[in-house]
Amino acid sequence: MTQEHDTLEVSVWRGDADRGQFETHRVPAYDNQTVLDVVSWIQQQVDPTLTYRFACRVGMCGSCAMTVNGTPRWTCRTHVNKVLKDGRLDIAPLRNLPVIKDLVTDMDPFFDKWIRAGGAHAPSASRHDPIVEISPQSEGRATADAGIECINCSVCYAACDTVSANPDYLGPAALQRAWTVVNDEKHGDRQAVLDTVSAAGGCHNCHSMGSCTMHCPNDLDPLGAILGLKRATARGVFKRRR
């Protein structure tokens, strides 16, 4: 692979919840270099107090997401060449979450909503019961499986303008989890989840802007999941009337 630039011009955001600014560094360019490697290089070689987060470096833990050249993405699996613009990178913390320091955000609100949306399984059996036989091809299971590989990285959450406009909105990842749960026949109280996502802050606030599906690094489709929830809850309205 040929390298167009032997150094990269990288601006990283430094600051805390209240204020901050970009600081620019020149970073040596290599083949096989990810954005996380660039950030690490800056911390390890020139700026020891630069703060960022990672915990797997292979796209499994969902802790390394940042805003790179204006777009939220995981950094550990983003090859620099994929995002480089004129030899430059702008790296900032994720949107829609409080900044703790530099490139690190507080992800608690994201997980609070995950739980609030009904993300935790409610059992219908115990450890003393046999494992339920479920055909992997059954419609419910296939639908549940579609969203199961979410690594809760918050990229979709950061991409969604409804989240920024409405702090109560549960957001794409939590709602996608709710849709998975609603389709899981092992779950003990699926109606309760449908009721939760029907309340203020729930799935009906989504404007289908699709930035979530667009940016999910795992090619998941939260928009589709939310549409599923909308359909299921709307169907519920007619059913209950009858």
Binding site: R95, A158, D161, S208, M209, S211, M214, L223, L227, A234
Partner: protein, 112 residues
């Protein structure tokens, strides 16, 4: 910057919101004008003639365009939300815009 918005579905959303907002703001004015029929029919006629002016024509074209955009955009959303998920939303978004141009275009052609 703001790269996360750079895709058709987001533009479709923004177009829908702006058109909805435009329509909602226009609606009271529209109603007031029509109400003239009761209170002052002559003024209504005057207004309608005035509406022949090119600038106003353009504004009217804009309104019909807004309605058409919002209508097709709305249909797109309703289809998305109430019909089994197709996953072909980009084509829906494009289709909505094309339909809107078609309708407002024919309106404009008729008007001039």
């Amino acid at each position: 910057m703001r790269g996360h918005r750079n895709h058709p579905l987001w533009f479709a959303f923004m177009l829908h919101r702006l058109s909805g907002l435009g329509l909602a703001l226009f609606l009271p004015a529209h109603f007031l004008v029509l109400s003239l029929a009761l209170s002052d029919p002559a003024l209504l006629d005057g207004f309608l003639h005035w509406a022949d002016a090119p600038l106003v024509k353009l504004a009217e074209f804009g309104l019909v365009f807004l309605l058409a955009v919002h209508f097709f955009g709305g249909l797109r959303l309703l289809a998305l939300e109430f019909m089994p998920w197709s996953g072909r939303q980009k084509s829906w978004a494009a289709g909505a815009l094309a339909g809107a141009f078609l309708i407002s275009g024919s309106f404009l052609l008729n008007a001039v």
